[in-house]
């Protein structure tokens, strides 16, 4: 039975805070469940290391994701291979599931142009730093797939609770409703848009409610319950593809919490209480899934240790690889501005290279 037709105030849950089963467990094999756990552990460990790289001056500003692994991994695992992902800027964990290497994510936050370059077989749009602009792109791409008669793809788009206040959110969902596009609009409601709490973002009782006005389903899910997220997203993906019936978009509100700062540039203790953070930490998606997997015999001490070791190695290797990439050449700025480099750009590039040869790199590089 679909999880989607319900009151937007209800919250879909499969695992309670202690990993106990309170809903229907989705149909996933043992390997897939362990992989879900591993992907969440990988995202958490990556996040911890990335924050520390930033602190050490080895990387620029970085938006942490800890606490949000359940929503990221649960939803991306529910996609089929050909589906498309339109991320905001915090979905590094989900991006790995969709085939974006950790090294590439590191390069992006280390300020390398190549960090934005997806391999041709990766159906992931570049990170969207402006807020909610990607919603329209996801709607447009989904719409195009429909116009081209391609029935086999769903288009998932991620944004935050703050993002629902932007005009682009309204326009993207409105077009999707009018044109019946095969979208899954996935709101990572992590309660805080930097310092502004969810209840100061909208007077709507839930974000899921907003779908009512666009004429499609809106569903709230416990975003720190990866199995519930998987289930709801899977239902939304199937509805988007819906062979034989009307293909329709869905708005999913995944209720969750960011444990850390909005980015490494802000200090959350200025605007929120430690008590609140502790309350949400009790819902941590990782121990929740781990308990369930241990109790059902899919994980034990030995396999958990193996996961720990393998994610640590994978992240360490990615950091080594990213840090071994040399500083990009200035010519990279001038490339890919247009299909063909115009004369005035070539001239600017050549003049700059000439000066660089004369005065040396140290004349430009600060620090």
């Amino acid at each position: 039975m679909s999880t989607l037709q319900r009151d937007p105030e209800e919250q879909v849950q499969v695992l309670d805070e202690n990993g106990g089963v309170v809903g229907e467990v989705p149909d996933l094999g043992d390997d897939e469940l362990v992989e879900m756990y591993r992907a969440m552990r990988l995202a958490r460990h990556f996040d911890k290391r990335a924050v520390s790289l930033q602190r050490q001056g080895r990387m620029g500003t970085y938006p942490p994701l800890s606490g949000q692994e359940g929503a990221q991994i649960g939803s991306t695992m529910a996609l089929d291979d050909d589906d498309w992902m339109f991320p905001s800027y915090r979905e590094h964990g989900g991006a790995v599931v969709r085939g974006v290497p950790l090294t590439q994510t590191l390069l992006y936050w280390m300020g390398h142009e190549d960090g934005n370059k997806m391999t041709p077989d990766t159906n992931v749009f570049p990170v969207a730093v402006p807020i909610s602009t990607q919603i329209l792109h996801a709607t447009g791409a989904a719409w195009a797939s429909k116009l081209k008669g391609d029935d086999e793809k769903a288009f998932i788009c991620y944004f935050g609770d703050g993002g629902t206040s932007e005009g682009d959110f309204h326009e993207g969902l409105n077009f999707a409703g009018v044109f019946d596009t095969p979208n899954v609009f996935f709101c990572n409601n992590n309660q805080w848009a930097i310092s502004v709490p969810r209840e100061r973002q909208t007077a709507s009782k839930t974000i899921a409610h907003k779908a009512v006005a666009y004429g499609f389903d809106g569903v709230q899910v416990d975003g720190m319950d990866p199995l519930a997220v998987y289930k709801v997203t899977r239902d939304a993906v199937e509805k988007a593809k819906n062979p034989g019936d009307r293909r329709r978009p869905t708005l999913i509100e995944a209720v969750q919490y960011r444990f850390g700062a909005h980015t490494t540039a802000d200090d959350p203790t200025v605007y929120r209480d430690d008590d609140e953070v502790e309350k949400w930490k009790a819902k941590d998606p990782i121990p929740r899934l781990e308990k369930f997997l241990r109790e059902t015999g899919r994980l034990d001490d030995e396999s958990v240790d193996a996961v720990t070791q393998s994610v640590e190695e994978q992240v360490a290797d990615a950091i080594d690889e990213a840090e071994s990439v040399p500083r990009p050449e200035p010519s990279e700025m001038f490339e890919s501005v247009y299909a063909e480099m115009p004369d005035h750009l070539r001239e600017q590039m050549e003049d700059f290279e000439q000066l660089r040869e004369q005065v040396g790199d140290e004349a430009f590089l600060r620090e």
Binding site: E166, V337, Q348, F352
Partner: protein, 327 residues
């Protein structure tokens, strides 16, 4: 007059504080400006001082912030909306250019729009994508707007107070590279620095270099270096890029006969072209060399690993000045 030793961002805060203290109609609104005190701390402490009716954390919506500020301004308040970064201003662009800039004109003076849109702007702080652009030319192109870009703490407070008191909308772009780069003496009292007046930062006889914002300091550094080579550079800090202080530009140019313009915004359609045109129109017969444009390249602002190459550096400024002098 007592003074304090402030950074540029502290001078922003002090300007807001000073004007809010003496005019109850002034209010601050934007994303994270209240409890959090602004992502750069430009509004720190104002929330506690003036309360949440005058220091307002809004929903995350730039068009909403500027559009409602227009309504407030027309109704008699003096809102100072903050755009968190100038790179996120574009959702508000329609409100700024179609409405704020034109409300006086469209209503034949019945409605006016005395608001100040503040935004941290420019590159050089290793920020993520879309956080480093310089697009002052967009706003300078629009009739009805004034565009201010300060470069010292003293000017920042004085210009901000002038902007808040100005009867028309002002875009106030704050070069975040120099938010905390140095301190300067700033009077505790209120004072104004008039909009539309340039300041000569260094007098010279060989060439006039026009600049503003974060480029003011490397330009002065280049001028000092070149003085050792016997090139005597005059540095003119425009401070307001719309309206331009054409009289100051022409006066300096008539003295030197040569000019360069330094800005980090891209070259094409940038302010350097406008300044060159002023020189052509008003002082052609004094001109001894082409005007050098020392600017950002005509590319999207790169991710930060390349930003040092993008920004006009002292080396590029020196080279450009030499070109104009040796022509």
């Amino acid at each position: 007059m007592s003074t304090q030793n402030l950074t540029l961002v502290q001078a922003v805060r002090d300007g807001l504080y000073t004007e809010m203290k003496q005019d109850d109609d002034v209010l601050v609104m934007g994303e994270d400006v209240g409890k959090n005190g602004g992502v750069f701390r430009a509004t720190e402490g104002l929330y506690n001082e003036f309360g949440d009716d005058r220091v307002i954390d809004t929903p995350l919506a730039e068009s909403g912030i500027v559009g409602t500020a227009i309504g407030m301004a027309a109704y008699g308040l003096k809102p100072v909306p903050e755009m968190q970064f100038s790179g996120f201003m574009y959702p508000a662009f329609d409100q700024i250019v179609s409405h704020a800039a034109r409300l006086r004109n469209r209503s034949r003076g019945r409605f006016t729009c005395p608001l100040v849109v503040r935004a941290p702007y420019g590159g050089g702080i290793r920020a993520p994508e879309h956080h480093s652009e310089s697009k002052e030319a967009f706003y300078a192109h629009e009739a009805g707007l004034k565009v201010v870009i300060p470069s010292t703490p003293y000017d920042t407070k004085g210009l901000l107070i002038s902007a808040i008191r100005d009867p028309d909308p002002v875009i106030f772009l704050e070069p975040k590279l120099i938010y905390r780069a140095f301190r300067g003496e700033v009077p505790e009292e209120d004072y104004t620095v008039p909009l539309g007046e340039a300041a000569v930062r260094r007098e010279g006889t060989d060439i006039s270099v026009f600049t503003y914002g974060a480029m003011s300091r490397p330009t002065q550094e280049a001028a000092e270096n070149l003085s050792e080579e016997g090139i005597d550079v005059e540095v003119v800090d425009l401070r307001t890029v719309s309206p331009l202080d054409e009289a100051a530009i022409v006066e300096s140019f008539k003295k030197t006969g040569r000019a360069a313009v330094v800005h980090e915004a891209p070259r094409k359609g940038g302010l350097a072209g406008e300044i060159t045109a002023v020189i052509q129109e008003e002082a052609l017969l004094y001109q001894e060399a082409p005007v050098e444009r020392i600017t950002g390249f005509d590319v999207p602002f790169p991710l930060y690993a390349l930003e040092d190459y993008y920004l006009p550096s002292v080396a590029r400024i020196e080279e450009g000045i030499r070109n104009a002098v040796e022509f």
